[in-house]
């Protein structure tokens, strides 16, 4: 399944400045693995040492925060947009 992944500014050093890249995988975990295969090290920025999503990063599949879905096991259907966005406070 090919999906497009939006890359936040602080991770664009990994993608050669690209703000949007494509990746393969049926789940978010698989997509992150595939991303890391092409942009070595990027997964370690999004996940902590224990392999969980870092506390201050929000990942969306479509419009939904994956913490409302199945976290890293969230399915990523063909063509869906995955967004990686730093958390911000103050509203």
């Amino acid at each position: 399944m090919a999906v497009s992944v939006r890359i936040p500014t602080i991770l664009r050093t990994y993608t050669g400045g690209e703000s949007e890249v494509s990746a393969e995988g049926d789940t978010l975990a698989a997509v992150l693995d595939d991303l890391d295969a092409h942009y070595a090290g990027i997964k370690g920025r999004i996940l902590d040492e224990a392999g969980a999503l870092r506390r201050f990063v929000n990942v969306y599949v479509g419009n939904d925060d994956v913490r409302f879905l199945e976290d890293l096991q969230t399915p990523t259907p063909d063509g869906v947009q995955v967004s990686v966005i730093p958390a911000v406070a103050g509203g």
Binding site: R54, R55, N63, D65, I85, P86, A89, G90, G91
Partner: protein, 432 residues
Amino acid sequence: MSTVLHETTTAAASTGSTRKGLREGAFGHARALACRECGHEVELGPSYACPECFGPLEVAYDFPNVTREEIAAGPANIWRYKALLPVPSDIEQSPNTEPGFTRLLQAHNLGRELGIDTLWVKDDSTNPTNSFKDRVVACALSAARELDAKVFACPSTGNLANAVAAAGARAGMKTVVFIPSNLEKPKQVNSAVYTDHLVAVDGNYDDVNKLASEIAGEEEGWAFVNVNVRPFYAEGSKTLGYEIAEQLGWRLPDQVVIPVASGSQLTKVDKAFRELVALGLVEDKPYKVFGAQATGCSPVSVAYKAGTDAIRPVKPDTIAKSLAIGNPADGIYVLDICRRSGGAVEDITDDEVRDGILLLARTEGIFTETAGGTTVGVLKKLVETGQLDPTLETVVINTGMGLKTLDAVADRVGPAATIAPSYDAFVASGVL
């Protein structure tokens, strides 16, 4: 400079470094932006997320020596604390809304009603656009100006949008403010009078926030007050803490009760108290910090009660729309501060929020919005449940104005009678 107002991708590990093109002292005595999680430092600029761990960047300073007298000699607004804020020393010369130094009222009646010996209300509803957000926006505006931003913007639960639109108008900057489309009508009008660019988004605040973060990553020249210039913005909330201490005669209260949406304000009041101690401006003493949420959006309170550090985001459903942030980025710090200080985080139902609004209005003559109703209602619950010690001096912060959320109580109050214009009719009405 094509990357103006984009997050800096190269971290300047050295201290004291500032982006090129900035004037000397653009951010006052600020030294760098430091990650609250891992301590990693980046140069002062429009960065907000740590390139190492995504943690929030905060302003770090080399503070000068400041005396109480110097502060007291300053203007009756937040710029009296300018030496402790990331703003230039000539900040008063650039047009801004001059918020702050709001009244600290001793709440004898409310204290008696709740059984609290010494109670104060820090009333921030009298700021220029009637919420504490004018404080943070004034600091963000300074940063935006120093960074040469072209557009001043925010995602907002309402009050921030009001403050950004007004401050931008006064500063002659283009503003674009984003709100959830179901926001209270008065808050929409209170933004739209100042700007042609009020954008209502079909979704909740967390959706609006996501959109703003995406725009901030793509559009050049935009200063999103609570996204890419957030470290500077958030410092504005410290002035609430400074003022409380100064107005108490340069000492810290024993307990303070603060509403929590993203949690930014609460963490900054705590930061302010600790800075005052570190600077020798107040004596060190223990103080307890309490957080207030509405049950319909209480992810921090839920985590507090469950004894966990992990905050599960929620889809908000409460009349306290200004507090309706389901995914509070600073929530874990609120938990930490409230637990470490011996405080608590508590939540109340929408009916109790309404009760809180009426209680404050009828005891102290202060008409607060739903956020304040939440805070006062939580204060009451904290006393009733024995979580707050009523013999300790307590400050409750009223962050916003009731005229913006009239609907919340409109059904609960009204004429006691409708009568003919005659003395007899009045007597017959039984009103007295």
